[in-house]
């Protein structure tokens, strides 16, 4: 009789191999979908806070140019009201909203001056401009002093200030209605929602990331 040991050993080795290949392996959790936007509808509390701040005067505020030079309110052009848009350099919403505000700026240059206000460093602001492919007029609000004074804590908010520094309106988020409210106050015709650059603009006031103080 031939020895069955080799067959037995072979089968044991085979069983070990099968075990190795078929042993249960836990599945890693699916990664989060990074494409999901972080933008959010404006909280009611922001609307209440910012409407209470309306009517303040920011003529004593001091900004910085990207070259580091201090820029007090008094040094800004005085012939037209100013629109200040609050953005954050690493905020997807700011990047997304930039095209809407660029369009609004171009369509209202005769009626208002525009500045995009960041709490970030000049290098970060340059990076932001490179990403959107346009060099928007920008100011640095170190430590978010102006933003905090008005109660603005998130990107996507914007204000209309008169040349004397009086804040006549604060919009608690970006939306087509908000921009058209601004245009209405500037006595301009509303923006048509069919404009290509307004594609995807929020219909309800929407904010982005918190501003870094």
């Amino acid at each position: 009789m031939k020895s069955p040991w080799p067959i037995a050993l072979f089968l044991v080795a085979l069983a070990a191999l099968i075990y190795g290949f078929t042993r249960p392996v836990s599945q890693p959790p699916a990664p989060l979908n990074e494409k999901i936007s972080r933008r959010h509808p404006t909280p009611l509390s922001d609307l209440q806070t910012l409407n209470q701040s309306t009517g303040q005067n920011i003529s004593q505020s001091v900004f910085r140019h990207l070259d580091g030079q201090l820029t007090p309110w008094s040094s800004l052009p005085k012939e037209k009201p100013l629109v200040l848009v609050f953005f954050s350099h690493d905020c997807d919403c700011s990047l997304e909203f930039a095209k809407y505000f660029t369009l609004a700026m171009k369509n209202s240059e005769t009626k208002a001056g525009w500045y995009f206000v960041f709490t970030d460093t000049p290098a970060q602001i340059h990076t932001f401009m490179n990403k959107i492919g346009t060099n928007l007029p920008s100011l640095q609000d170190p430590d978010s002093k102006v933003g905090r004074r008005l109660g603005i804590t998130k990107s996507g908010c914007f204000i209309l200030a008169q040349p004397d520094g009086l804040v006549s309106a604060i919009w608690p988020g970006t939306s087509l209605a908000s921009l058209n409210d601004l245009f209405s106050r500037l006595r301009l015709p509303p923006l048509s929602p069919d404009l290509p650059d307004l594609s995807g603009i929020p219909q309800a006031p929407t904010v982005g990331c918190p501003l870094q103080p």
Partner: protein, 470 residues
């Protein structure tokens, strides 16, 4: 040397239908301290009855019995029991361990019943169990022990109170050869150390070979017999190595001379059986693993499909209120949007089915919905660009809750069924969302809303405000 046990003409007669039977007949026996006496004999020869008589567990019909000079037959039952419990150790054929106690508790029981301090009783019981190879199983209950292990616990219990006489009835039955050898070593050690007198009835030659005197019991009568020669110890059997044949066998009737197999090679039915067993086990294991793997794959595939559908429903599908527009006279036109965040994986939605409510007195009152023609719930593919779902309703309530003054608080409930296929087969997932919005009361002017909310002139009054979907 004083005698531990002295029996003279002990007899025990059982009545039977065909006359009386002498289970023990005129037996005389003396046991010295440290002496080991074994009684062999066939079943029914009276060995166990003799042991019961010697231990005063049963009363003889005739004769005398002295233990350490005390006449046991003159003692009252309580005194006899007291003496037995302190000076004699019994190990009967049945283990009679208490099932609700651990091995340690069982072994310590005689000491505890005799009023010995717990620490001392348990300490000695553990030492005995360890000596008998049961130290690791001290916390096992009798039903968790094999027959041989139960025998060892019984022996530990018999030795617990350090008796001067140990009476054993088949102490090594149910034990494997190695365990038997261990127990015999313990008994030998105790006999030598403590001059323990041992009386054992047995069938086994190995136990009898260790005895100082061996008696043969036959038809109730005891006769001294020669000690059997000690069989080879199990350990020596196990250790034996070497070829089956020292040299090739000569003068065999067959013409072929068998070649001796080298050590370790396949030979014999035991080896064949073992190899077949391993082979069978390996086959069974392989088959089991393959089946389990196959089933696991199917289960995994199903779960993965479900997980993907869930992921689509919660991560890939974005849905929210896109726009709200007051049309006058309380009519509101709105759009819900559906959007697929991942263009690489398509999916379909049945619905959405919408219901609209407004808040009044802390409750949600339903608002009739007017679905525009052609926008009924249907299966539609959700694509990366927003798909708008239009709907209309009319809202002019006389009373409503104003979480923010001058605004209705509206809830839109959406129900959708998500499928990976247009046919909506297989795993479906139902997603329900509630969208909350604040909508200006069209009957109020902007100035009135500012006034009601205490907002300064010029402040922003949005036509509607959304809340995050939740």
């Amino acid at each position: 040397m004083s005698v531990v046990l002295s029996a003279r003409n002990l007899s025990r007669i059982y009545p039977a239908r065909r006359g009386s039977i002498a289970a023990v007949h005129q037996v005389s026996l003396e046991i010295q301290p440290g002496e080991f006496v074994a009684v062999c004999g066939r079943s029914g020869s009276g060995k166990s009855t003799l042991m019961a008589l010697l231990g005063a567990l049963a009363l003889p019909d005739g004769g005398t019995l002295h233990f350490e000079g005390i006449d046991l037959l003159q003692l009252s039952p309580p005194k006899l029991a007291h003496l037995r419990s302190r000076r004699m150790g019994f190990m009967l054929q049945t283990n009679s361990l208490l099932p609700g106690l651990t091995a340690l508790d069982n072994a310590a029981l005689p000491g505890l019943l005799a009023g010995e301090p717990q620490k001392q009783a348990y300490s000695r019981a553990l030492a005995l169990l360890t000596r008998l190879g049961m130290g690791e199983r001290w916390d096992a209950f009798p039903h968790e022990l094999s027959g041989g292990q139960q025998r060892r616990v019984s022996l530990a219990r018999a030795l617990q109170h350090e008796p001067s006489l140990l009476l054993l009835d088949e102490p090594t039955s149910n034990l494997d050869p190695l365990a038997e050898e261990e127990i015999l070593k313990v008994l030998q050690g105790l006999r030598d150390e403590r001059k323990l007198a041992i009386f054992a009835v047995t069938h086994g030659d190995q136990l009898a070979s260790l005895a100082d005197r061996v008696f043969q019991m036959s038809s109730g009568e005891l006769s001294l017999t020669a000690k059997p020669s000690a069989p080879a110890s199990p350990s020596s059997l196990i250790d034996r190595r070497g070829p089956v044949f020292e040299k090739p066998p000569q003068n065999l009737t067959t013409q072929e001379t068998p070649t001796p197999a080298p050590v370790g090679e396949w030979r014999g039915p035991a080896s064949f059986f073992l190899a077949t067993l391993i082979l069978g086990a390996a086959l069974l294991f392989s088959a089991d693993r393959i089946i389990a793997w196959s089933q696991g794959r199917q289960l995994w595939a199903k779960q993965e499909k479900k997980r993907i559908t869930e992921e689509i429903a919660f991560r890939q599908l974005r849905a929210d209120v896109e726009s709200i527009e007051a049309m006058g006279n309380g009519n509101v036109r709105a759009n819900l949007f559906l959007q697929n965040y991942d263009s690489s994986r398509g999916f379909f939605v049945l619905g959405p089915s919408l219901r609209i409510f407004y808040q009044a007195d802390g409750h949600w009152d339903s608002v009739p919905q007017e679905t525009p023609e052609g926008s009924e719930a249907k299966i539609q593919e959700v694509v990366p660009t927003k798909t708008l779902i239009p709907f209309q309703f009319k809202l002019l309530p006389s009373k409503y809750d104003e979480l923010i003054r001058g605004y209705f608080h509206i809830r839109i409930t959406s129900n959708m069924v998500i499928s990976e296929t247009r046919e909506a087969k297989g795993d479906l997932f139902e997603r329900q969302d509630d969208y909350y919005i604040y909508l200006q009361d069209p009957r109020l002017t902007v100035e009135e809303i500012r006034r009601r909310n205490g907002w300064v002139a010029g402040s922003v009054v949005p036509p509607w405000i959304a809340m995050p979907a939740h």
